[in-house]
């Protein structure tokens, strides 16, 4: 009786390594990019009418944590430093939007404070960061 020879199905190592390395680099880079946000640990409020951002480039980000501390990007700043920084930014790159990422538990006094800073610095449009419900 003649034995039927089946084609041997081999495991292709090379493409598997390619994919593995690609995934590895993706997770390594993604972890590094989101590290800044994790450090601040700000939980922005929920809102149903939040719209997906159209242009994320032309905006200056101000973070406010739940205790009301101000951060320009991830750098802690005082109210005076922030005002000076924003004045310069609005002068150099008009029309710049001010993107406020305030924690849902931030006290109202700090929100009023940042609005006053925005007005004093010459901001025209203020955007509050929210999570869509």
């Amino acid at each position: 009786m003649r034995r039927v020879h089946q084609d041997e199905v081999g495991l292709q190592i090379a493409p598997m390594i390619d994919v593995t390395l690609l995934l590895l680099f993706f997770f390594m880079l993604a972890g590094k990019i989101t590290k800044g946000d994790k450090l601040l640990d700000i939980h922005v409020p929920l809102a149903a009418t939040g719209k997906a951002p159209v242009d994320e480039g032309a905006r200056d980000v101000v973070n406010i944590d739940e205790k009301g501390r101000l951060f320009s990007g991830s750098l802690p700043v005082t109210k005076k430093e922030l005002t000076e920084h924003l004045k310069q930014r609005f002068k150099d790159y008009p029309p710049l939007k001010l993107y406020i990422r305030a924690d849902a538990a931030t006290p109202g006094s700090k929100i009023k404070e940042i609005m006053a800073v925005a007005a004093e610095s010459g901001a025209i449009e203020v955007v509050f960061g929210v999570i869509q419900k």
């Binding site: 590895l24 997770f27 946000d37 990422r101 931030t106």
Partner: protein, 146 residues
Amino acid sequence: MKRTEHPQIDLQIAPMIDVCFLLLFFYIITSKPVKPEADMSMTLPGTVAQEESLDIPDEQRITIQDSGQIVLNDLALDRPDDKHLPSLLATLKRFKESSDANKSQALITLDVSDNAVHQRVVDVLNACAEAGIQGVTFAGATGDEE
């Protein structure tokens, strides 16, 4: 002349794959999905004192108290823990319709108490946006509170 023979060095694939997989699983497990944020924008006319803004006819004043209670022109609306603010939304919609009929801009002045939380401010901004009102200002931000 005798040629010197070097031992051949092979690349060990198996341990490399092991390490890659270990690193990959580590990053997959430790990665936290980031929720995409949305925009809630408002155009700033600047912060105004309450005395000035009350003279403008088509303007309503919403006070957010420390407890989260919403007060529209001295009238308390909705419960402090109600996120949807149905009464405020209905009133704002009527206000917007009336302003449109009069061909004037609907303006809202927000008077936020110092200890009211930001989520409550966003709840009110959300109601304003839902009613189609874009003119919102913050009162008392310059220290001109009553």
